[in-house]
C-alpha cells in the first residue's frame, strides 16, 4: 500500500505550514480568524478565475491563459484583503484598547502590522497549497505508484515540494505586498506580482515531456529564498542575529 507515500508526501507539503500554524497562529483566535478570512478571499479569487476559464471557451485548452489570469485574480484579492484589513485595523485597535482582558498575542497582531501581513499571507498559501495538492493526494492512497505510463517516479515528491514552496512564497509575498501598500512602495507590489507570475509559469515546465523538474524546482526555491530574505528584512529581521538561534552560539 502506498498509504505511506500518501502520508509522507502530505507531511512534506503541509508539515511546515502546519508547524507555522501551530506555533504562531493557533493560540490566538483573532489570528485564526484573519487566516480564515484571507483563505476565503483566495477562494473567491479561484472562483472568479475558474468562471473566466469556463466562460472563455476558445482558450480553455490553453493552460497558460488560465495561469496568468489566476495569478492576476489572486493578487487582486490580496489587494482587496489588504483594504479590508486596513479598515478593520482601526476598529480592532479601539476594541482591544478598551478590552483589558485581551490576549497579548492579539495585541501584537494589531500593533505589528507585519504580523497581520504574515497571517494573511499564510492563509493564502495554505488554501492555495491545499487546492493544488489535494487532487494528487486523493489519488495516491491506492495500491499503485506513478510510473507505468512513463511518468517520473519523483512526481509525488516534486508535487509535495512545489506545494510547500508555494505556501511559503505566499507567506512572504503577503509580508512584502502589505508593506509595499502601507508605505506606498509600489515597486514591492510590482515585484510580488511579477514573481508570482514568473514562478507560476515556471511550474508549467513540469508539463513538458519530459518534465524539467530539477530546473523548475531550483528556480522556484531560489525565488523562495530571495523572497524569504526580503520579507525577513522588511519585517525587521536582523540577519546578523540569526546565529543566536543556535544553542551553542547563545551560550557563548
Amino acid at each position: 500500500m502506498t498509504m505511506m507515500e500518501y502520508v509522507g508526501c502530505g507531511f512534506i507539503a503541509f508539515g511546515l505550514p502546519a508547524a507555522l500554524f501551530i506555533v504562531t497562529i493557533a493560540r490566538d483566535p483573532l489570528r485564526v480568524l484573519v487566516l480564515m478570512a484571507s483563505a476565503f478571499f483566495w477562494l473567491v479569487s479561484l472562483l472568479l478565475s475558474s468562471m473566466l476559464w469556463f466562460a472563455v471557451v476558445p482558450l480553455r485548452e490553453k493552460l497558460v491563459f488560465g495561469v496568468v489570469f489566476s495569478v492576476l485574480f489572486q493578487e487582486l484579492f490580496r489587494f482587496f484583503f489588504f483594504l479590508l484589513m486596513k479598515k478593520a485595523h482601526a476598529g480592532l485597535n479601539k476594541l482591544l484598547e478598551r478590552d483589558t482582558s485581551a490576549q497579548p498575542d492579539s495585541l501584537t497582531l494589531v500593533h505589528n502590522r507585519h504580523l497581520l501581513a504574515y497571517v494573511s499571507g499564510l492563509g493564502f498559501g495554505i488554501i492555495g497549497g491545499a487546492f493544488s495538492m489535494v487532487n494528487v493526494l486523493a489519488d495516491m492512497s491506492g495500491p499503485g505508484t506513478i510510473g507505468l505510463k512513463g511518468d517520473s517516479s519523483l512526481f509525488f515528491i516534486v508535487s509535495a515540494l512545489a506545494t510547500l514552496c508555494f505556501v511559503l512564497l505566499h507567506t512572504f509575498w503577503g509580508i512584502i505586498f502589505f508593506d509595499g501598500m502601507n508605505r506606498d512602495r509600489l515597486n514591492q507590489v510590482a515585484a510580488v506580482v511579477a514573481c508570482h507570475m514568473l514562478v507560476s509559469c515556471m511550474s508549467l515546465l513540469n508539463q513538458l515531456d519530459p518534465p524539467v523538474y530539477l530546473g523548475s524546482m531550483i528556480t522556484m526555491y531560489i525565488m523562495m529564498i530571495v523572497m524569504g530574505v526580503w520579507a525577513f528584512i522588511i519585517a525587521g529581521g536582523q540577519l546578523g542575529k540569526i546565529p543566536e538561534l543556535l544553542p551553542c552560539v547563545h551560550n557563548v
Binding site: G8, K62, L63
Partner: protein, 699 residues
C-alpha cells in the same frame, strides 16, 4: 505544451483493463463455488507462467509475493492452479487467450460426471457416479471448486499486449539466470467482490432479513423459462389418454468458467456450440418439418410436445420444475408468464382450457443432446426402465423406426453399448419419477466427443465447416421428424424433410450473430433487429426474477410459434393481429396467442411477407422448486439449489500499476514526518528568540 492535460493523477498511475470476463461465485444448498476477491480487490505482482519452470520459479523463488500469475491455455490446468493456490503466494489468476496459437487439446470446467448430484442412478450401486462411463472424461471440475481468489479471462489484444510489454517485460521479467527484478514492480489489482457467502440457504435467509429501510439481497436463484409447444393443444374437452404425449426435448443452456457477459466486453463466453446449439437447432428444424405436415396429424393421434429446457446444466432446473408441476397437476400452469401476459388467456374454467398434463399422460421422450461433432449418431436409452418389457418394446420400436428412416436419409446411427447407463440428460429427471421409454441422440458412444463441454471454447470453429455440419443436422432432423410422425400417427411418411437453409440460418443465429435473418423473421416489426445482440446470445441461464426472460428464450419461443403456429390468412395487419388477443372466450382464440411476424424476405415482391400467427407455444417456469417450496431440505439434493451471488455496481475492476519498494515508501514517510517534527521544533526556538531577531523598532 501549455495545454490542459485534464487527466487526473489516477489515470497516470493506473491502466484499466477494459475487456475482461471474470469467474464469479455460485452457491448451492451446501457449498459455495467459484471466485471472489476482497472488497477492495486483490493485489499481486504480475508474473507470466508459460511453462512448468515458471510455476516452479514462482512457487520456490518468487520473492515478491503475493503474485498474480498470467496463464496461457497450456498452463491453465487444474494441476497448475492447485499448485499455485496452495503455495499461498498467489492472490489472483489471469488467463490470457490472445495470441495463443495452441488452443488446448481439451478444456472443460464441468465435472467428469456432469450433474452428478441429481443423476437418476444415484441409488444404484453399479451405475452411480459415472462408474461405468466417465462421460466428460476430460472435465477438470474447476467450475465446482471454491477458489476464493479472483480468476479473470483477458481477451482483448491491446490489454494483453500492454500487460506483457509495458508491464511484465519492462518491470518484472526475471533475468536469464532466474534473478528476480527489483522494485518498482508492475502489479495488478483484480476486484471481483461477491456479496454472497457459504451457501444458498444462508444467503437467502440473509436476503430475507430486513435490517434497514434499504433491504439488500445477496444472491438470486438460477433460472429462466422453458419453452414448449404442442402441435395441437389438448383441451379439457378432449379426452387425453394416459401414455399418449410424446416429448421431443433439447436443452437451451450451458455454462463456462467465466460467466458474466460484461456489456463492454465483446467476448462470447458461453457459446455452447456443440454442448447445446447443435441439439437445439436440430430440434427446431424438426419442429419446422413437423409443422409443415401438422394437418396430417389429427387430434386422435398422440400429441407431440416440443420442449426446450432451461437451466439443465445446473442440476436440471427446467425439467425438474416441469416434472414437479406435472406431479402437482399444475402443468400447463395459469401462472406461467404467457398467461400472465395475456390475462384473457387465463383459465376460463371452460372446456377450452388446456388439458392439465401429468406424468401419467407421457408416452415417450426423444431427446437431442450434442449431435454436431460426429457424422455418426448414437442412440442412448436408460437401462433401468428397459427392464420393464413394455418400455423395452416401445424403445425397440422407436429404434427400429429411427434406423429405417436413417438408412433412407443416409444418416449413420448406432446403438450405444448395451448395459451403459443414460448420459446426463433432461430425460433423467422424468425417469426418476416414471419408467418412460426414451431415446437420447448424441455424437458419442461412451465418453463425450466434445473436448470443450460447457467451456468458453465450445465455439462454432470446433464444429468444422458449416458446409458439412448443416447437411448432417438437417438429415438428423429429418430422421427425428419421421420418427415423431410415426410415433404419433402410427404411419410412415418418408416425404417429411427438414430444410437445410433453415438449419444453416439457425446455426448462423446461434453461433455467429443474433442479428440474423431467422430471428428477424420472427420479430413483430416493432422490435428492430438492431436491438438484438451483435454477438450470439450467451447460453448461461443466469438468474431468475420477476419480469425477466432471457432474450434467447424469447427468440426460441418466437421460432416455435413461427414453425408450429397457424397462419391467420384473414388477418392482414399488425394491429388486427394484436387485437385478436383481446377476444377472450370464443373458441377460435382461447387459449391461443396471436403474434405478428415480419416473415421471410421475398425477393420477387421485395418485401417481407408479414403474417399473423396463432400459436400455443408457451413458457413454463424454469426455477428450481426448492426456492418456491415452503419447507425444503437444502441438503437433500432432490432439486437444484444453485444461486448466483449478487455484486455491487463497482464490484468488478481490473487495473495495472507500479508498486514502489517498501524502502522507498518508508523513506518518504519518515522524511515527511521528520521534516514536520524538525520544523516545529525550529519554530518554537525562533518564537522564543523573536524579539532578538526582529527589530520591533522598525514598526
Amino acid at each position: 505544451m501549455f495545454t490542459v492535460g485534464g487527466d487526473r493523477v489516477k489515470e497516470r498511475i493506473y491502466q484499466d483493463v477494459k475487456a475482461y470476463s471474470p469467474c464469479i461465485r455460485l452457491l448451492n444448498g451446501t457449498h459455495q463455488i467459484g471466485c471472489n476477491s476482497k472488497r477492495g480487490g486483490n493485489v499481486g505482482t504480475v508474473h507470466m507462467v508459460e511453462s512448468q519452470a515458471d510455476v516452479d520459479w514462482l512457487v520456490q523463488h518468487g520473492p515478491h509475493a503475493p503474485y498474480i500469475p498470467l496463464l496461457k491455455y497450456s498452463t491453465f490446468t487444474r494441476d497448475v492452479i492447485n499448485i499455485l493456490t496452495r503455495s499461498g503466494k498467489v492472490n489472483g489468476i489471469l488467463l490470457q487467450v490472445v495470441n495463443d496459437t495452441e488452443p488446448p487439446v481439451h478444456m472443460s470446467p464441468d465435472q467428469a460426471c456432469p450433474n452428478v448430484g441429481s443423476e437418476m442412478y444415484k441409488n444404484d450401486g453399479n451405475l452411480s457416479n459415472c462408474q461405468r462411463v466417465s462421460w466428460n472424461k476430460q472435465g477438470s471440475g474447476l467450475m465446482f471448486e471454491d477458489l476464493d481468489i479472483p480468476v479473470v479471462l483477458l481477451h482483448n489484444e491491446s490489454d494483453v499486449e500492454f500487460i506483457i510489454d509495458q508491464c511484465y517485460n519492462k518491470y518484472n521479467k526475471p533475468s536469464a539466470s532466474g534473478e528476480a527484478r527489483s522494485y518498482p514492480l508492475c502489479a495488478m489489482q483484480l476486484k471481483v467482490a461477491m456479496d454472497a457467502a457459504r451457501d444458498s440457504p444462508t444467503c437467502i435467509r440473509r436476503s430475507a432479513m430486513i435490517t434497514n429501510l434499504n433491504p439488500q439481497h445477496y444472491c438470486d436463484p438460477l433460472g429462466d423459462f422453458n419453452v414448449y409447444s404442442f402441435l395441437h393443444l389438448p383441451k379439457v374437452k378432449d379426452d387425453l389418454k394416459p401414455d399418449s404425449v410424446i416429448v421431443a426435448a433439447a436443452r437451451m443452456d450451458a455454462f463456462s468458467f467465466f460467466l458474466p457477459s460484461m456489456t463492454n466486453s465483446p467476448f462470447h463466453n458461453v457459446p455452447g456450440a456443440d454442448s447445446v446449439v447443435t441439439g437445439l437447432v436440430t430440434l427446431l428444424a424438426v419442429a419446422e418439418a413437423i409443422g409443415k405436415v401438422k394437418h396430417k396429424i389429427t387430434k386422435s393421434d398422440k400429441p407431440i410436445m416440443f420442449t426446450f429446457f432451461n437451466g439443465e446444466s445446473f442440476d436440471y432446473i427446467g425439467s425438474s420444475r416441469m416434472v414437479y408441476e406435472m406431479q402437482r397437476k399444475n402443468f400447463p400452469s395459469e401462472r406461467d408468464p404467457y398467461f400472465l401476459e395475456h390475462p384473457t388467456k387465463g383459465w376460463t374454467e371452460s372446456k377450452d382450457d388446456p388439458h392439465p398434463i401429468s406424468l401419467e399422460h407421457l408416452y415417450a421422450m426423444v431427446e437431442l443432446s450434442q449431435v454436431g461433432l460426429n457424422n455418426r449418431t448414437w442412440l442412448h436409452s436408460d437401462v433401468i426402465s428397459a427392464r420393464k418389457p413394455a418400455v423395452k418394446a416401445v424403445v425397440d420400436d422407436m429404434i427400429k423406426t429411427l434406423k429405417k428412416a436413417a438408412a433412407l436419409s443416409g444418416v449413420e446411427v448406432d446403438i450405444a453399448p448395451t448395459g451403459q447407463p443414460l448420459p446426463p440428460a433432461s430425460q433423467q429427471t422424468f425417469l426418476k419419477e416414471k419408467s418412460l421409454p426414451g431415446l437420447l441422440l448424441a455424437d458419442h458412444s461412451s465418453s463425450y466427443t466434445n473436448k470443450y463441454y460447457n467451456s468458453h471454447l465450445d465455439v462454432a470453429d470446433q464444429l468444422g465447416p458449416e458446409g458439412t455440419l448443416s447437411p448432417h443436422l438437417t438429415h438428423l432432423a429429418t430422421v427425428v421428424a419421421q420418427l415423431l410422425y410415426k410415433m404419433s400417427t402410427g404411419k410412415e411418411d418418408t416425404n417429411i424433410t427438414a430444410d437445410e437453409s433453415s438449419v444453416s440460418g439457425l446455426l448462423h443465429c446461434f453461433l455467429k450473430t443474433a442479428q440474423c435473418d431467422m430471428f428477424n423473421r420472427t420479430l413483430n416489426g416493432e422490435q428492430r433487429l438492431s436491438t438484438l445482440s451483435k454477438l450470439p446470445y450467451s447460453l448461461y441461464v443466469s438468474v431468475s426474477y420477476v419480469g425477466r426472460k432471457n432474450p434467447l428464450s424469447v427468440l426460441v419461443h418466437n421460432l416455435l410459434a413461427y414453425f408450429l403456429g397457424d397462419h391467420m390468412t384473414n388477418v392482414t395487419s399488425a394491429s388486427d393481429c394484436k387485437a385478436m388477443n383481446k377476444k377472450g372466450d370464443d373458441k377460435q382464440s382461447h387459449p391461443y396467442t396471436f403474434k405478428w411476424m415480419q416473415g421471410a424476405w421475398n425477393n420477387k415482391t421485395m418485401k417481407q411477407e408479414s403474417f399473423c400467427v396463432r400459436t400455443i407455444a408457451n413458457y413454463s417456469t424454469a426455477r428450481s422448486p426448492a426456492f418456491d417450496m415452503e419447507e425444503y431440505s437444502w441438503s437433500s439434493q432432490k432439486y437444484s439449489t444453485w444461486t448466483e451471488s449478487a455484486w455491487a455496481a463497482d464490484a468488478m475492476q481490473v487495473r495495472i500499476f507500479l508498486m514502489p519498494s517498501k524502502e522507498r515508501e518508508i523513506a518518504i514517510l519518515c522524511g515527511g514526518i521528520g521534516f514536520f517534527v524538525i520544523s516545529t521544533f525550529c519554530l518554537f526556538v525562533i518564537r522564543r528568540k523573536f524579539d532578538t531577531i526582529f527589530d520591533s523598532s522598525s514598526e
